[in-house]
Symmetry: C2
Subunit: 121 residues, 2 copies
DNA sequence: AAAAAAGTAGGAATGATTATCACTTTCATT
DNA sequence: AATGAAAGTGATAATCATTCCTACTTTTTT
């Protein structure tokens, strides 16, 4: 594992958040100023392949990345875009039973308006 | 509703499938050769706002559009990308109960390998 | 029919992501 | 320690779905 990859993984594991590739670059550059955005993307993809990081594909915004890979789903604020973790809301087994097929996985995003954004109205 | 918009909606309602904007353009041009891709996107967005069409955001491919808007979820083949309809696997109410919050909606995609792609191995 | 509003075609622009490539770094082997 | 292969990097260019822009056309209103 290269130093760059370590730093990127370090950023993602430093706290429970869901940054974009750009935000990861910003933070990583505090420890490694020459780091390039392409390297961030390349290593994020590798880390996802190794199951050390999880990508959260966003519908109308840059994708987010998650350094915590135990099973959980995401609650997304439709106003500010912030992503919250929630316990798994589905199981592969339940889906396989309902659908009567083998299932490879699922992506569930629940949309809501977060308390902060609700308060602003 | 402009003639273009009608044609685009007609394409989506002609059969149960999940075409991309490009595929919609191709089909719509059989009836309206001068139709422009920008017009397709513009009207798809409008139709989605009017809840006459549903967008299916794809993670690593162009988005799909669905002319059938009664509640249902999607089963996506990880190999060929084909999208199948399935009955709703979640309900807003169940999610609200589990999460103890108001919920605006959800996006659930279940990934599998479709029979055709399985057969190819 | 004129004026205003809405919609369109076509092409340029945008922006996230990926590819490319010359240049390091790593590291096992002599 | 030198070497050579393999892997990784930084910088930049390319890609490609989608959106934006503008002059033009169609529709609606008065």
């Amino acid at each position: 594992m290269s130093r760059q990859k370590e730093v990127i993984l370090g950023v993602l594991r430093a706290q429970r958040f869901h940054p974009t590739a750009d935000e990861i670059l910003l933070r990583a550059r505090q420890r490694m100023p020459a780091l390039a955005l392409g390297t961030v993307y390349r290593n994020l993809k590798a880390l996802c392949d190794e199951k050390k990081v999880r990508r959260i594909p966003m519908e109308d915004a840059p994708d987010r990345y998650d350094g915590f890979v135990e099973p959980h789903d995401h609650l997304v604020c439709t106003v500010c875009g912030k992503v919250y973790d929630v316990p798994p809301l589905q199981s592969k087994e339940a889906l396989e039973a309902k659908l009567a097929t083998r299932v490879d996985g699922y992506e569930l995003k629940v949309y809501f308006t977060c308390p902060k954004c609700q308060a602003k109205n």
